[in-house]
Amino acid sequence: MLSNHLRALESESIEILRETAASFENPVLMYSIGKDSSVLLHLTLKAFWPAKPPMPLLHVDTTWKFKEMIEFRDRMAAQHGLDLIVHINQEGVEEGIDPYANSERHTHVMKTLGLRQALDKYKFDAAIGGARRDEERSRAKERIFSHRSPEHAWEPKNQRPELWRLFNTRLAKGESFRVFPLSNWTEADIWSYIQAENIELVPLYFAAERPVVRRNGQIIMVDDDRLKLAPGETVEQAMVRFRTLGCYPLTAASESSAATLEEVVDETLTSKQSERVGRLIDHDQSASMERKKREGYF
């Protein structure tokens, strides 16, 4: 049984998803495999039931995701009978972009440019994502229906006012929207909802013995042999889990013994650190996210 406040959030998200389906010719659901995407997928299935969601899933694969994420992604798409589009920026692959040499460039080429390529290739006019406003300061002013120019740029000064639940979804040629049905959810809401609805997650969220290396005070999992050890570094087994998921070399684990959903929720809700602490790409500057968004990052 959902609490009043979770039911209100669920209804709001479903309304946004339905409005997206009704307003656009070619929407797509951005599926990044993490907990927020899992909630978003669950809400999407609910919103259109008993019909199938009228949009495919899109995963922009940087080729550096955890192996378990990829397995989970393919299993979810098959289980729900959904079309899954996986896009990899081949130019980036050929160029040999890797997250060790330059993490910022890796994110820009494989994620931001990869996403732009995919949206252009399939001519999606609305891309639904699981971003939340409480994640980061520059997201606090993001619209639910966020307007993008034909170049995918986000112009903070050129966004339409959003009143009530009335969304102006009109587009000129080449323009598109990013749609954020989880705008008003917090991390605590996400976890409470996962628990209440019993939503399946990638096992990486739960503590287990995993091979890790300690680097610059952070714990990085050795997911495959592309992780090169620096002199003096050793691989050790540690009881760890992840609070957010991304490219494995850029996502730090935390030591934890929370192995069940209940324990994870307990641990998260009492944490003194924000979830972004584990994301290596956010640490550069406080305005970095805003800049990435202007370039078309989700």
Binding site: S3, N4, R18, Q159, N168
Partner: protein, 629 residues
């Protein structure tokens, strides 16, 4: 008034188990420098909603930009965009989240200065309560009154006046009482209006009382937010659901999907489709995790009906015994948000619920002075103006007054070309007229009349700069058609201005009305079976589109395309000369824009084509397209 809504502290803390946690959406606003950001930062911090790493970043920033000396500047928890930080101002509504054991809070934080009305309206439209921040030193400002006016208009029924910086007036009760008294009268418009003294900087009376305000016997700000009863009881009103989508996964299932705007329903309840008036009963409230026995306001549902009736997106399912109004004309307050001002008569898109229809403002009743509440006469509305207007839609919509139903009584006006959101509207009431004027249906129709003349009714709409040669070409076309025995009529801009439109000038508003009247006359003539030639500068795309839509497929746009230099050189009436000399205002192409057609059926470039060749091309076009039988 206020005290009755606030439960005593002891009683509220203990009750309500955690699962029953509810959401309170509130907005905050205030003038520049009244400490609003510090107050929200303080609420976030004192409610334990700030993570250690976020606080560390604030402490770092405080050393760089802070205004609070050694202590961390909590206002820096909120700073959003880089552009804003550089300018030291906020430009947009920001959303903040925090929660306590009792409630989850969604804060719409509206900046107080630039775009104040627009931002306030955005924040108020999604809020149940407003926290208006007042600087204890400065007292009540014009802005405070403006904010209260917008809150009232948008149906925010609970207001908290946070008298901040009370530390800077030595926690003076006298000063606080003075401010409280000043807003007593304005506060009577609200269900709750309570003044609370606070110090955002030191935390007094935000989450905890603190030792300096012993004289105050009301609640702390956080306690008030946790306990104030804001329920609108939308569930107790008649059932309404605006249909967003129709789910048809197979032939046996037809589900209507939407969010219940008001009321509650259960299988067996009689409902109607508001626009058609067709009745049925709720069969199922279908859901992925099992059918529901009932559902109520605020819930997103999928409903099936016992009978197959025709319902599509934009229709409204409503309680059979208590239906919404259905009309194409109504009176509403508009909050103008567009950079371009309102033009009465111009066609906009109106979105109400899931329904979007063309609509125009037929009359501006008055403009509201948001500071004094005075009603002023107005010919137009500009950015951040609020006005009371009459609107006419091209098709009926189902609605309730905003005061009774926020979802059913709110709408947006959208520009058809720029796609900008121009205005937010709240419906006051329907205009009875709409339901009383019915079209007279006649037996001899347009087709019959035209066939008797051996032609298809057509409106050739010549548009172009003054001096482009529109009238010359139109004249030649009419002569040729007349020689063939066709039935024609030429409406010339200059001639019509001597008679039908002699009360109109050349302002944007008058140009719109000019075209509207001419379009209507052309439509009647086409209805009579004529080939109508309209020769009008008609500089605005929106009005040409309006004319096109009136003609129902019989509209042919002829763009007489002449470069400005050439038209000015020809200058048959000597008008360009005057315009360039500044003797003639609002002259198209000189100090008033000409918006070139994007989809003209016929494009004549007069720099390369003679008037005779142009006329021949147009007559050929009519013949080739089966308009001359």
């Amino acid at each position: 008034m206020a005290e009755a809504d606030v439960m005593p502290a002891a009683q509220s803390r203990a009750s309500e188990p955690a699962e029953e946690k509810s959401i309170l959406r509130f907005l905050t606003c205030g003038s520049v420098d009244d400490g609003k950001s510090s107050l929200i930062g303080r609420l976030l911090f004192d409610s334990g909603s700030v993570f250690d790493d976020q606080m560390a970043s604030v402490e770092r920033d405080s050393k760089k930009f802070g205004t609070t000396g050694e202590a961390p500047d909590l206002a820096l928890l909120l700073d959003g965009l880089e552009a804003e930080r550089e300018q030291g101002i906020t430009i947009d509504v920001a959303y903040r989240y925090f929660s306590t054991a009792k409630r989850k809070f969604i804060v719409a934080d509206a900046p107080g200065h630039a775009q104040y009305t627009r931002n306030m309206a955005v924040a108020a439209s999604v809020s149940e309560l407003a926290v208006l921040v007042i600087d204890a030193r400065k007292g009540v400002s014009e802005q405070t009154r403006r904010h209260m006016t917008v809150c009232e208009l948008l149906g925010v029924r609970h207001v908290v006046l946070a008298v901040n910086k009370i530390d800077l007036v030595d926690f003076s009760e006298a000063r606080f009482r003075e401010i409280e008294a000043e807003l007593k009268k304005a506060g009577e418009a609200f269900e709750t209006c309570l003044a609370i003294p606070v110090s955002a900087r030191f935390g007094d009376n935000v989450a905890a009382r603190g030792g300096n305000l012993d004289w105050f016997d009301g609640p702390t700000l956080l306690h008030l937010l946790e306990t104030v009863q804001v329920k609108r009881d939308e569930a107790a009103r008649p059932f309404r659901m605006q249909v967003q989508l129709v789910a048809r996964p197979d032939l046996d299932f037809r589900g209507y999907q939407g969010t219940i705007a008001s009321g509650r329903i259960a299988p067996g309840d009689p409902v109607v489709a508001a626009l058609s008036g067709r009745a049925s009963k709720i069969a199922r409230i279908a859901a992925m995790d099992g059918d529901r026995d009932s559902a109520e306001a605020g819930e997103a549902v999928t409903l099936t009906l016992e009978d197959e009736i025709d319902i599509s997106r934009g229709d409204v399912l409503a309680a059979a015994e208590s239906r919404p109004e259905v009309s194409d004309q109504f009176a509403a307050h508009l909050i103008w948000m567009g950079e371009t001002h309102l033009l009465p008569g111009r066609e906009y898109l109106l979105k109400c619920g899931a329904r979007t229809v063309p609509a125009s403002v037929t009359e501006i009743g008055h403009r509201l002075d948001v500071t004094t509440g005075e009603r002023l006469a107005a010919k137009r509305l500009e950015l951040n103006d609020i006005g009371f207007v009459k609107l006419a839609a091209s098709q009926p919509i189902a609605f309730d007054p905003y005061s009774e139903n926020r979802r059913m009584g709110s709408f947006l006006l959208v520009d058809r070309f720029s796609n900008d959101t121009l205005a937010a509207g709240v419906i006051a009431h329907g205009l009875r007229r709409a339901t009383n004027i019915h079209w007279q249906s006649v037996d001899v129709d347009k087709t019959a009349r035209a066939e008797a003349k051996g032609q298809k009714p057509s409106v050739l709409w010549f548009t172009g700069l003054s001096g482009s040669g529109k009238s010359t070409i139109a004249n030649l076309v009419e002569k040729r058609l007349h020689m063939e025995g066709r039935h024609t009529y030429l409406l010339d801009g200059d001639n019509v201005r001597h008679g039908l439109n002699r009360d109109l000038g050349f302002t944007d508003a008058d140009r719109v009305e000019n075209i509207r009247r001419v379009s209507e006359v052309a439509r009647l003539m086409a209805d009579a079976g004529l080939i109508v030639l309209v020769s009008f500068i008609s500089p605005f795309r929106a009005e040409r589109r309006m004319a096109r839509e009136l003609m129902d497929g019989d509209f042919l746009e002829v763009w007489v395309d002449t470069p400005l230099e050439l038209a000015a050189k020809r200058d048959p009436k000597g008008l360009y000369k005057k315009a360039f000399a500044g003797e003639l205002k609002n002259f198209t192409g000189v100090d008033s824009p000409y918006e070139a057609p994007e989809t003209a059926e016929i494009h004549i470039e007069t720099a390369q084509t003679s008037a005779e060749d142009a006329a021949n091309a147009i007559v050929d076009y009519l013949r080739d397209n089966g308009r001359l039988l």
